[in-house]
Symmetry: C2
DNA sequence: TCATACATACATGCACGAATGTATGTAAAT
DNA sequence: ATTTACATACATTCGTGCATGTATGTATGA
């Protein structure tokens, strides 16, 4: 193929990432070769090595393409619309669950991230990045719960950090189990209600 | 090495499984060769191929060695000690969390199962087995919650299945996140309290 | 009880494919 | 003219599966 223009090159890059999503979802990260991805994307391995350093970098880019916008959403978030910060935390989590339940790209990438890759070697670095992001989210929730407690919305006998840990575990657990077997329960339906049940147990009486 | 007796052969088998646990935890399932496992176990690949058909069968055996006893515990379980079946469900889950928090073998195997393998190809069959087991556990919880609701222990406005789904998601989420990064929170401490918070939100008023 | 025949529990070696990384070719965009 | 955006070709590594070797445990019959 002849040389393509800048925009076309960007299209190629996205085509590769799209192909990688589908291939990884079907066969797992370690069992899909770059040749397989190239074939699906209608290019050769040369194109992949042009755009990405190696498979780990390609994987990282695939993840970031989906989660970078989400992270940015988290940063310019106003948690001060309601006096009870838990309201905001709940709506963030509910939005996330709804997004996962409806956006097929989210489903693909989350299924890959949770069940179709091994966080080892070069991949471990990628995991650490997301762990860091997860820690920020944990802190966000913890301070929210702590504030709610000070304002009398939360029971005084629970540790705010523990409340945050449980809340995040619930969200992650729902996504992990649903991406493992979507026929077990409707995520968009059950998810938010489970959140409400958990938060109900934390409310001050 | 000369031929070993039956008991010694069993020891070899367990040595291979032990070595596989450590190797898989360090380098992931797909990136550890059978040669590496053999080296750690002090044998050669011949021994592994004698005891197991291939890597997938070895992985399956490694999982079953840990979870078969747990499954058997679930089966001869008496849930009728307390009038409220949720009490039993809570104690099962709490026992599981405590076990994970204290038994290093559980930690290894769960870390591998959740984060260091790809459920694809021959592995998918193994995953399906555990999904089936998970479904039985889900049913157990669902009927427990339903019974509790009939007996007036549970709020009438929640779906028992949804309650069960959330409960299991919470347990799995705690384990998944803790095996991902054990420094985030103390599982043995926070885990049971998170369960209580969730169950508190389901109680009838 | 003891010799024999067979099964067992591995070790060793080889052939094969598969995947990666890189070096190089190439034609068009800039 | 030079860089870009790939395609092509090649070398190398690595793991698997299998075939085969081998020495000993174990059961069996006389």
């Amino acid at each position: 193929m002849a040389r393509r223009t800048r925009d076309e090159a960007l299209e190629t890059r996205h085509a590769i990432l799209d192909a990688a999503e589908l291939a990884f979802q079907e066969n797992g990260v370690s069992r899909t070769s770059l040749a397989e991805i190239a074939k699906r994307a209608g290019v050769t391995r040369g194109a992949i090595y042009w755009h990405f350093e190696n498979k780990a970098a390609l994987f990282d880019a695939m993840i970031q393409r989906v989660f970078d916008p989400l992270e940015r959403m988290l940063q310019d978030l106003r948690t001060h619309e309601d006096d009870n910060p838990v309201v905001a935390l709940r709506s963030i989590a509910a939005y996330y669950l709804e997004r996962v339940a409806t956006d097929p790209q989210y489903v693909r990438v989350l299924e890959i991230a949770w069940h179709k890759c091994e966080y080892v070697g070069e991949m471990a670095v990628i995991r650490d990045n997301h762990l860091e992001c997860g820690n920020r989210y944990l802190d966000l929730n913890e301070t929210g719960f702590r504030l709610a407690q000070q304002r009398g919305y939360l029971r005084t006998d629970v540790d705010p950090r523990q409340a945050a840990v449980g809340f995040i575990a619930l969200v992650d657990g729902l996504v992990v189990n649903w991406t493992l077997d979507g026929s077990q329960f409707p995520l968009g339906d059950y998810g938010p209600r489970c959140l409400d049940a958990y938060l109900e147990g934390l409310k001050a009486r």
